[in-house]
């Protein structure tokens, strides 16, 4: 067959697909055209705004933009392109908050090591996985030492942390701590021991019954009032405790859903083989239950990652908080769209990544024949 023939066939394949899916009836054709016009209008407007008509570091006259007065849109009437200079000028704050800039290498190091710390638990077919897992367990202590400081490193109080650092700290640590806790809670809720069961039920239902913002306020406002003068647990850690408890309750319910989907016969079979409760749970029940629970677990993780932005209400400068602080500075005020679009993009990257990973995991663990 000549190459022309292949082209014709493949072209007709596309043609068929188009006709079948987009232009099959009059109504569909009209809808397709309207949708295309809409996508074109919105897309071209956005691209012009965000890229083609936008200022990055320099304005249309080639001057370095040092405040909003230099933005092309504030000089040329009718110009509307974005002025991304605020992101460049505040890049360090978006990444590290008010962390002393001469110490920022410590945060960069942790950012660089974070993928190495989680790769071992995310993927099982990588070389030297065992060592990656070891590293995963060392990493929290290393990160604490590097970020907070200690012998040999100057101490940087958490009130100086901010931006992506706080968002990732709350998100990653919150999810990491909540996961084991939530497994225990889910098992406890299914336990036959009445006290453990009722404790778990009360805990889960209480936490799920109040919004995260209430927990944050409780941790931030109520806790210090109970404590004696001078004992002030760190603000960020208080928020972390609230976030972890919140996440563990939601994740526990997702895992319980998985546990309930395991047929009773599996447990009975394991028991008849003489396996203990913990053996049954660890080797038979949990591997299957967690697999079923992956989509809801990832769902709660994505939700939590975005919920971390609520901490701005208790005065922590997470990514959103630091963006709002940037907007409060007279140098940059009113560049709302630029800041919020940038923050959305960062959140999108992380949440989309989590969502793709869960799809990958579902496919990989799919063992049934359907």
């Amino acid at each position: 067959m000549s190459s022309t023939a292949i082209q014709i066939i493949s072209r007709s394949k596309y043609y068929n697909w188009l006709v079948k899916n987009l232009f099959s009836t009059w109504v569909n054709t009209i809808l397709t055209v309207i949708a295309l016009i809409f996508v074109y209008q919105v897309g071209s407007f956005f691209l012009n705004w965000a890229i083609f008509d936008a200022d990055f570091r320099y304005n249309f006259q080639g001057e370095l933009i040092i405040d909003r007065g230099f933005c092309s849109k504030n000089i040329v009437p009718g110009e509307y392109g974005a002025c991304w200079a605020i992101i460049f000028a505040r890049w360090n704050q978006f990444m590290y908050g008010l962390y002393p800039i001469e110490e920022a290498w410590r945060v960069n190091l942790i950012y660089a090591l974070l993928p190495l710390a989680i790769i071992g638990i995310l993927f099982d077919k990588i070389p030297f996985r065992r060592y990656f897992i070891y590293f995963t367990f060392i990493f929290p202590f290393l990160a604490y030492f590097m970020l907070y400081g200690g012998p040999g490193l100057s101490v940087v109080g958490t009130n100086k942390w901010g931006g992506l650092l706080v968002t990732l700290f709350l998100g990653v640590t919150g999810i990491g701590l909540a996961f084991p806790l939530s497994i225990l809670l889910a098992l406890g809720r299914r336990s036959k021991m009445p006290i453990i069961k009722s404790l778990c039920v009360v805990f889960i239902e209480f936490i799920r019954g109040v919004p995260l913002i209430t927990l944050l306020f409780t941790a931030n406002v109520m806790l210090p009032l109970f404590l004696p003068d001078g004992v002030n647990p760190d603000n960020l850690l208080r928020a972390l405790v609230a976030v972890t408890l919140f996440q563990s309750a939601y994740m526990a319910e997702a895992i319980r859903g998985g546990l309930q989907a395991i047929p009773r016969g599996q447990v009975e079979a394991a028991q008849s083989l003489g396996l203990s409760y913990w053996q049954t749970t660890r080797k038979i029940v949990l591997p299957q239950a967690l697999k079923i629970a992956i989509p809801p677990i990832v769902n709660t993780c994505i939700g939590l990652f975005k919920d971390t932005s609520l901490v701005l209400i208790i005065g922590l400068f997470d990514l959103l908080g630091i963006g709002r602080a940037a907007l409060a500075d007279m140098t940059w005020t009113k560049l709302y769209y630029e800041v919020y679009v940038f923050i959305s993009l960062v959140f999108f990257i992380f949440c989309f990544g989590m969502s793709r990973y869960s799809l990958y995991l579902e496919k990989k663990l799919k063992t049934d024949n359907s």
């Binding site: 504030n74 000028a89 505040r90 360090n92 704050q93 908050g97 008010l98 800039i101 109080g157 009130n159 306020f217 931030n220 406002v221 806790l223 210090p224 009032l225 109970f226 404590l227 004696p228 003068d229 001078g230 004992v231 002030n232 647990p233 760190d234 603000n235 850690l237 208080r238 405790v241 701005l312 209400i313 208790i314 005065g315 922590l316 400068f317 908080g321 709002r324 602080a325 940037a326 907007l327 409060a328 500075d329 007279m330 140098t331 005020t333 009113k334």
Partner: protein, 341 residues
């Protein structure tokens, strides 16, 4: 109660929460000195009053009060840690001892002063609800606003003040209800109403962000009292005195014409009050438990009130606020500090 407390402590410790246990049940002043830095409750970002700049350094007239106190206590205005607080948590953060003082545009009211267990030590900005209109309306006084449409946040004191003002002057208005202040700003910019009303400082800050600030005018009438000032915890008068007089020193500095530029020359002044303020006549610092050059440190490192005002919110800044009520009593304002004697 002790049991509950110790239970909580052990709970917190076991959670691995880092704690800073104060040695003794000392005064705030001792605690601050021991810690080596002042913990100051600031805004989470309000232009001209308190916000981190591009380099991450806090700036604003509220921030300058914190710096003045640090200068008085340590002789170094930079020994401040800022704790960003929102309007919702600011008072509990102060009550729980997390911060030593609060300086974030907080209105001094009876209930806050008395019921919340706070002590307002003075006023560093006299604010009040004002009106902003487009210049093209040709209005120069709020008395001419009869029949105007007003963007107003529902359920706020601003709304009540507005109703009272129009009623008292026998005028009517058409309200355009909005939820938040930024929504009101947006609605006004979009031309959905003739008048935008909120605290005057907020009006100026909004106006500074408009593409053409000169097209809008903030009317001279101020219809409510909003004295904003620093606050400390109730029950520690020595510390309250230090914060109060740090603020007063800035105001008296302006009265006496002492600036950060001429403070060294002023040390050889003939005016006895200047000599007392700058610590040339010794003894006044000791009364506060400070060194004699405490006010000198404030004026040389932070500057007087006028310098702070002009630098952060004055007519030469984008916020462009006239001194107005915040001028000294002898310049037609109501800014007045008790004598330094």
């Amino acid at each position: 109660m002790t049991k509950i407390k110790s239970l909580f402590i052990s709970l917190v410790l076991t959670l691995g929460v880092s704690t800073a246990i104060a040695g003794s049940h000392g005064s705030t002043h001792d605690l601050v000195k021991e810690r080596g830095k002042l913990m100051c409750g600031s805004n989470t970002g309000l232009a001209g009053f308190g916000a981190p700049n591009d380099a991450g350094v806090w700036e604003g007239i509220d921030v300058d009060v914190c710096r003045a106190v640090a200068a008085a206590v340590f002789g170094d205005a930079s020994k401040v840690e800022y704790v960003p607080t929102t309007s919702k948590v600011r008072f509990t953060v102060l009550q729980s001892g997390e911060i030593d003082m609060l300086s974030r545009n907080t209105t001094w009211t009876l209930s806050r002063d008395v019921d919340l267990g706070l002590e307002f030590v003075g006023v560093n900005y006299y604010d009040g609800q004002g009106f902003m209109v487009n210049k093209s309306l040709g209005v120069s006084s709020a008395m001419e606003l009869d029949g105007a449409s007003v963007c107003i946040q529902v359920g706020t004191t601003t709304e009540m003040n507005l109703a009272d003002f129009f009623k008292a002057n026998g005028m009517s208005y058409e309200s355009v209800p909005v939820e938040t202040n930024s929504e009101a700003d947006a609605a006004y910019t979009a031309g959905r109403c003739d008048v935008y009303t909120t605290d005057a400082s907020g009006l100026y800050a909004s106006r500074a962000g408009y593409p053409d600030p000169s097209a809008h005018v903030v009317l001279p009438e101020i219809v409510s009292k909003e004295p904003l000032g620093p606050a400390v915890r109730h029950g520690d008068s020595e510390w309250a005195d230090i914060v109060r007089w740090s603020l007063n020193a800035m105001i008296i500095g302006e009265e006496l014409g002492i600036t950060s530029a001429n403070v060294d020359e002023m040390k050889s002044s003939k005016n006895p009050e200047v000599l007392r303020l700058l610590g040339v006549d010794a003894g006044y610092g000791a009364m506060l438990g400070l060194s004699d050059d405490w006010a000198y440190n404030i004026l040389s490192q932070v500057g007087n009130y006028s310098e702070s005002f002009e630098k952060h919110i004055g007519p030469n800044t984008p916020i462009n606020i006239q001194r107005g009520l915040n001028a000294l009593y002898k310049d037609g304002g109501i800014l007045y500090a008790p004598p330094f004697r």
